[in-house]
């Protein structure tokens, strides 16, 4: 809808006709912000366009393709599905566009996937397999649901009731238990009681991300009710993907605002940073390491809170009522850095592409399932960048990032160490 009633409802692609039709091909969605452009190397932040080269893989191509889909000029094909799905929805394009133009690129991409699913053509077969696992076993790996809390060791104190509910997530529960353990122990050490979900299910990140919005919404309703029932004031996560799913996609799917969730969604790094600054947590044990920090997309540029919006678009494309765009400005960029700087002995060296310019690890939002080679390639790019700045280790705030980096590092025989920030925080508390 170019003029007239419009909303940010992703279930109707028509809402993004304006945005898709106004892409000017400046490729701000592809290049690192020109102010921060580091030179001829490490100059892009769109993994899809960088990997697959044709314009169709950048947002500038996808907006045109999306418009063709909306106007019924595009038939589904393998190539179309690959174009839509070989993409981590990392938000670099959205933030890049909004530096100057304020087009809703990310929402358009989400809406395109939702349309593909609605049309019975999407998502990718690997997504359908994973979706089945989520439905049956409540986790994306298809592992036994009853083993979800296996990561819990006896030395971890879990409260029956507390203000803080730690939502562990599938990855930390099953493939990266070190993150769950570290998070829990940090909370214990900080004297912050926490509870767990009585019956934790997958947050539905992948389902929403690949366009299976109906399934994702059902899961969201179920999970939201469970948290509300627990009386938690804060939902704590140690997974960036989960952070974004709870904070942004749940309200989006349910047509409410982040504030209306009834609790705060907080990432471990936000909490720990606050505790350190209040001197309620001290990081005293030195870690002698030159490390670099990887901004996980969903914690950084994708994490501005959600407010539903509907209104009208008129002359010159102006909308009313006014709309506060989500531009990635309010992402969690500084707290993880402050934490790392607070660890004695750590030498923090920045990646060439950092903060809102970070290059996605390649794993998230359905990519690792359907395009493992692409995910591996993206991780390789990022690991190479880490080595270029002379880092011995790379630190992330998401098990998806850590997992992908670690797998690729292992496969390639890299000696770069891969950490989740929770591990380093814990090491600096406990030793």
């Amino acid at each position: 809808m170019l003029k007239g009633k419009v909303s940010l409802d992703v279930t109707n692609l028509d809402n993004f006709e304006y945005d898709m039709s106004k892409c000017i091909k400046c490729k701000g969605c592809y290049w690192v912000d020109h102010i921060y452009m580091p030179g001829v190397n490490f100059s892009t932040r769109c993994p899809s366009a960088t990997r697959y080269v044709f314009d169709s893989y950048g947002a500038y191509g996808k907006m045109r393709i999306g418009l063709a889909m909306l106007e019924g000029r595009m038939e589904y094909s393998d190539e179309l599905l690959k174009t839509l799905y070989a993409c981590t929805l990392c938000g670099a394009c959205d933030v890049g566009c909004k530096r100057n133009l304020d087009l809703e690129i990310e929402l358009s991409l989400e809406a395109l996937r939702i349309k593909a699913v609605k049309d019975g053509k999407g998502p990718m077969p690997a997504h359908k397999k994973a979706a089945k696992k989520i439905t049956e076993k409540h986790n994306r790996f298809g592992s036994p649901h009853e083993k979800r809390n296996k990561w819990l060791t006896k030395d971890i104190k879990v409260a029956k009731k507390a203000d803080v509910l730690y939502f562990v997530g599938c990855s930390a529960a099953y493939t990266n238990p070190e993150i769950a353990k570290a998070t829990a122990k940090i909370l214990n050490a900080a004297g912050t009681p926490f509870m767990l979900m009585p019956d934790e299910w997958c947050c539905g990140n992948m389902l929403y991300s690949v366009g299976m919005i109906d399934e994702a919404r059902e899961l969201a309703k179920r999970n939201l009710e469970a948290v509300r029932k627990s009386g938690a004031k804060t939902l704590l996560v140690s997974c960036a993907e989960g952070y974004r799913t709870w904070k942004v996609d749940y309200p989006k799917m349910l047509n409410i605002s982040t504030d209306d969730l009834g609790f705060k969604v907080v990432h471990l790094t936000e909490l720990v940073d606050e505790l350190i600054k209040k001197e309620e947590l001290k990081l005293t044990r030195p870690i002698d390491m030159r490390l670099t920090y990887h901004d996980s997309c969903s914690l950084s540029r994708l994490s501005d809170p959600w407010t539903p919006w509907k209104g009208e678009r008129g002359k010159w494309g102006m909308v009313s009522p006014g709309l506060e765009r989500r531009r990635g400005t309010g992402g969690v960029y500084q707290p993880p850095r402050d934490i790392l700087k607070a660890i004695p002995g750590v030498e923090l060296v920045e990646m060439i592409r950092m903060k809102e310019n970070a290059f996605c690890c390649g794993a998230g939002r359905g990519t690792i399932e359907a395009f493992p080679d692409f995910a591996a390639w993206a991780a390789e790019q990022r690991l190479f960048e880490a080595k270029t700045v002379g880092a011995e280790a790379i630190v992330a705030t998401c098990p998806w990032c850590k997992d992908n980096f670690a797998r690729v590092a292992r496969q390639n025989g890299e000696d770069l160490k891969i950490y989740d920030i929770s591990e380093l925080i814990l090491a600096s508390i406990e030793g």
Binding site: L2, K3, S21, K22, C23, I24, K25, C26, K27, G28, W31, D33, H34, I35, Y36, M37, P38, G39, V40, S43, V53, F54, D55, S56, G58, Y60, G61, K62, R64, I65, L67, A68, R73, M74, E75, S77, E79, L80, T83, V95, K98, R99, N100, L101, D102, R301, W316, G317, M318, V319, S320, G322, L323, R325, R327, T329, G331, Y333, K355, E356
Partner: protein, 531 residues
């Protein structure tokens, strides 16, 4: 739509199957519009098509082979570096091959001898950063950081920094050009040696074939490599600061400074520019169009309109802002000297310095050029002319009068007589007119305005950017030179006898006028039947 199977097979063998496609999804991704520079207008709707195939070469040799195959199998083609220039850089005919040059991103830099060698895939912000790391700088053309450096050097290449470092024509050094028949011409020192440091020809200078004033859109060959002159800068770092969307370069105030001055009149701005040039100070001197200030202040489109709608003819006619750039190229003392001289000049003329942010979003990295579309969704610089300040000011006034007749659909600008600057230490002046419209409304008026501008320039004897491929060649041709079009077409005929390189450029706008019903009544010049 399809490129012949035989041709496709041979092309595939040249680049490998990973780098060629005729898939409709891939091709749709290369559509010109509906938005972009000069898009959302009649030319884009009528003249552009999606490619029949896309190919991505890596080397000059591959480009040559591709062009030769196109000649063999009569496949029309268009070279494409970023696609940023808008419809004029996209396919215009059916079954056309789009040669996407983005993989050609080789880069070398010689800071001692002040040049960088780039492929078509290198963009300005990359080049500028590499230059600045080494105490040098370049001009990032008005099109912005995202321009392919080569493409912009061939069709534009100026900014307020041209006050000091001049036209792009002299910054093109050793260059490789693949002619439309596939022959390779190496220009400058590359003609004789494997060293691109020098640009002038061996005898006559074949760089004459590269661009003209505002470019040839690739209809006379494909530049695959260019050495670009760097200019010495100053040693302090311009530090990137801020989080998107509020990012900017922080300027080292002891060496780089923009200063805004409110001036009593337009004439006084011209005088200030003249005096600065006479004193040979400064690194940039430009008038600031008032609506840019509204863009800079606004946090979104709606806020822009809120600010802009409060302006009027009165406020516009009373607003004269001169923006001056000082750079301490040699030393802090030099900058202090220039600032003293500048203050002398401004005081004499009756201007006043305003508080100016010590940051830059334009023009060193020119990161905000895409913001030109924020206000309305449609934008083009209708005319941008390098001549003298004495040309720029009346050109602006004349243009503002003409523009009134076409507002709406153009965005109201309350008679703002355009943007003007001083170039080459006052030897030249520059005027540019940016127009905006809502592309979702009827845009025929914008198409008419464009052509009317061309006619008005001819009537009033102004020089113009609307030459060559920009407007009907048979309209402008007889009026400039006279008959420059004859030479252009003769050269085109010599080097592209099959008319395969970006057809029907340079006659594309002529064809547009013939094809578009709303344009035909404007045709009052003679032309032969178009090929």
């Amino acid at each position: 739509m399809a490129i012949s199977k035989e041709a496709y097979k041979v092309l595939e063998a040249i680049v490998g199957e990973e780098y060629i496609s005729s898939d409709p999804v891939v091709c749709e991704g290369y559509r010109s519009g509906p938005s972009g520079y000069e898009a959302g207008l009649g030319y884009e709707r009528v003249m552009t098509k999606i490619p029949g195939g896309v190919i991505l070469p890596l080397t000059t040799e591959e480009v040559q082979k591709i062009v030769r195959v196109c000649n063999r199998y009569k496949v029309p083609y268009v070279p494409y570096s970023t696609g940023w220039y808008g419809p004029r850089s996209h396919c215009h005919v059916d079954d056309e091959l789009l040669i996407d040059l983005k993989r050609m991103d080789d880069f070398e830099i010689d800071e001692r001898h002040l040049y960088a060698v780039v492929g078509s895939g290198v963009i300005y912000s990359q080049l500028q950063e590499e230059a600045m790391k080494r105490g040098c700088y370049i001009i990032v053309g008005g099109g912005g950081s995202q321009c392919s450096a080569i493409a912009n050097m061939l069709g534009d290449g100026w900014s307020p920094l041209s006050y000091r470092i001049g036209l792009p024509h002299r910054r093109i050094l050793g260059t490789e050009l693949v002619l439309p028949d596939g022959e390779l011409v190496k220009m400058g020192s590359l003609a004789l040696q494997d060293d691109p440091f020098w640009g002038e020809g061996l005898g006559p200078d074949l760089r004459g074939l590269l661009r003209g004033f505002t470019g040839l859109r690739g209809c006379l060959g494909i530049v695959t490599k260019m050495a670009i002159k760097l200019l010495p800068f100053q040693p302090e770092r311009l530090t990137p600061t801020g989080i998107s969307p509020h990012t900017a370069l922080e300027l080292p105030s002891n060496r780089v400074k923009w200063i805004n001055f409110t001036m009593p009149s337009k004439e006084s701005m011209k005088k200030a520019m003249f005096e600065m040039a006479r004193a040979e100070i400064g690194a940039g001197a430009t008038k600031v169009p008032i609506f840019w200030r509204a863009i800079a202040k606004a946090s979104c489109k709606e806020e822009y309109w809120d600010i802009w709608s409060k302006e009027s003819e009165e406020t516009i006619s009373g607003f004269h802002l001169l923006r001056v750039l000082l750079v301490g190229f040699g030393s802090e003392e030099q900058m202090e000297y220039e600032e003293r001289v500048l203050n002398d000049i401004i005081t004499e003329i009756g201007g006043e310095a305003r508080r100016t942010r010590p940051t830059d979003e334009s023009w060193f990295k020119n990161a905000d050029s895409a913001g030109m579309w924020l206000m309305c969704g449609g934008y083009v610089s209708v005319d941008y002319v390098i001549e003298t300040l004495e040309h720029a000011l009346p050109h602006g006034e004349n243009y503002a009068k003409l523009k009134r007749k076409f507002t709406p659909p153009l965005m109201p600008d309350y008679g703002d007589p355009g943007w003007f600057q001083s170039f080459e230490l006052g030897h030249q002046g520059y005027s540019e007119f940016l127009v905006y419209w809502d592309p979702d409304e009827n845009t025929d008026g914008v198409d008419h305005f464009y052509l009317e501008t061309s006619k008005e320039n001819i009537r009033k004897r102004f020089y113009t950017s609307l030459l060559g491929p920009h407007q009907p060649l048979y309209l402008t041709g007889p009026a400039y030179g006279p008959n420059y079009h004859k030479w252009m077409l003769a050269v085109k005929d010599e080097f592209d006898p099959n008319f395969l390189s970006h057809p029907p450029v340079p006659l594309a706008h002529d064809e547009f006028v013939e094809k578009a019903a709303w344009m035909r009544p404007m045709k009052d010049w003679k032309s032969p039947k178009l090929p």
